[in-house]
Subunit: 210 residues, 2 copies
């Protein structure tokens, strides 16, 4: 099922500006990202869903003028934590205890281990670690979009600092890492739509150690 959807999806280069992705589909796409596994369950990133036309025009200008940014109906921005702080770590562990209704000793020891390790590391190392987690969720959001029949174009071609400014992310301790417009492919005008998907053959991609 998933493989079929992954074969269907591609990075749409031209979206139909007349078509709008329904809110329930967007919600499920975001939900796939929210359910993604992350290191220690910390979910060290957030998603900004931009529909505002003016804001998306600004983002397009710092995003190589890629048309899906404004021709799609929604733009997902994945923004990772700029650092792991004690407050952020404690917030998640407290939430886990609250939801589960008890404190697990091993889990509390694990909290102390993280508190003694992460906040002392340099922020850039922590940001890179957080960014990687965001990419797990990014992949799952793209997969869910395919299940919804929605086109999503994964994009790294933008100026992250400029995007952070447009969305006021740094003040919130966040840094943009990757984006994806959601919309519907416009077959006319998309050079990529009918081209074959290319992946390295299995023998160049997988090694077995038996």
């Amino acid at each position: 099922m998933l493989l079929e959807k992954l074969n269907w999806r591609y990075a749409a280069k031209k979206m139909d500006p007349a078509k709008v992705v329904s809110e329930d589909k967007v919600e499920r796409i975001v939900e796939a990202a929210r359910l993604a596994p992350t290191s220690s369950g910390l979910q060290p990133f957030e998603i900004i869903v931009v529909t505002n036309a003016e804001v998306r025009e600004k983002i397009k200008a710092i995003g190589w003028n890629q048309s899906p940014i404004t021709d799609g109906s929604h733009l997902l921005v994945f923004a990772a934590w700029d650092n792991y702080t004690a407050e952020r770590i404690n917030h998640m562990f407290d939430l886990v205890n609250e939801v589960r209704g008890f404190r697990n000793e091993g889990w509390e020891n694990y909290r102390q281990m993280l508190l003694s390790a992460y906040p002392q590391r340099d922020p850039e190392t922590n940001f890179e670690h957080a960014a990687r987690q965001a990419y797990i969720a990014f992949g799952l959001a793209l997969a869910q979009a395919a299940f919804e029949g929605v086109d999503a174009t994964p994009m790294e071609g933008f100026d992250p600092k400029a995007l952070d400014e447009i969305l006021g992310l740094r003040e919130r301790g966040l840094r943009s890492v990757t984006i994806a417009p959601l919309g519907y492919r416009q077959v006319e005008g998309d050079w990529l739509v009918n081209l074959q998907k290319v992946r390295r053959p299995r023998d160049q991609f997988v090694t077995e150690v038996k």
Copy 2:
């Protein structure tokens, strides 16, 4: 469909050593990773599938002694390129041209842009970029495992340098980034299996810019 599977999955802490994941399931899990979208389609990572018992014992020893590494039947190792080189970039662009049977001018211009940008950057920056792409595929492999009814435990708790040595990855221009044993949960002995999955509520995770 995907959301249901993501709700089913969890990071199994104890796997049943008597149960073996069938090869066709492993193939489809790897295939999901192979189909993952990556920046410029470069697929800057490989997967090593380890079944060898002795090798997995060694990996367990440098992986915090986490039992699923040896109790599962397969261990997936995601290893990212240590750098972007002209040779690697050209290899993928040549493959695309070969599969599609023609040269697209825009695509060739894009190749030149990458060649003028990536190989000159410092290797660490390129490795981090490649690692992020591996995480997209990692997420999709975990999702496919869930579709197969297979447990997969995402793990970053290992010594990457030691793992690189065990598998001889550096000589191949690769660096391990994340691993996942595949197997079947053993309900007895797994402290996590019956605990509620916890994720930050939507309002702490998503912002809308309307």
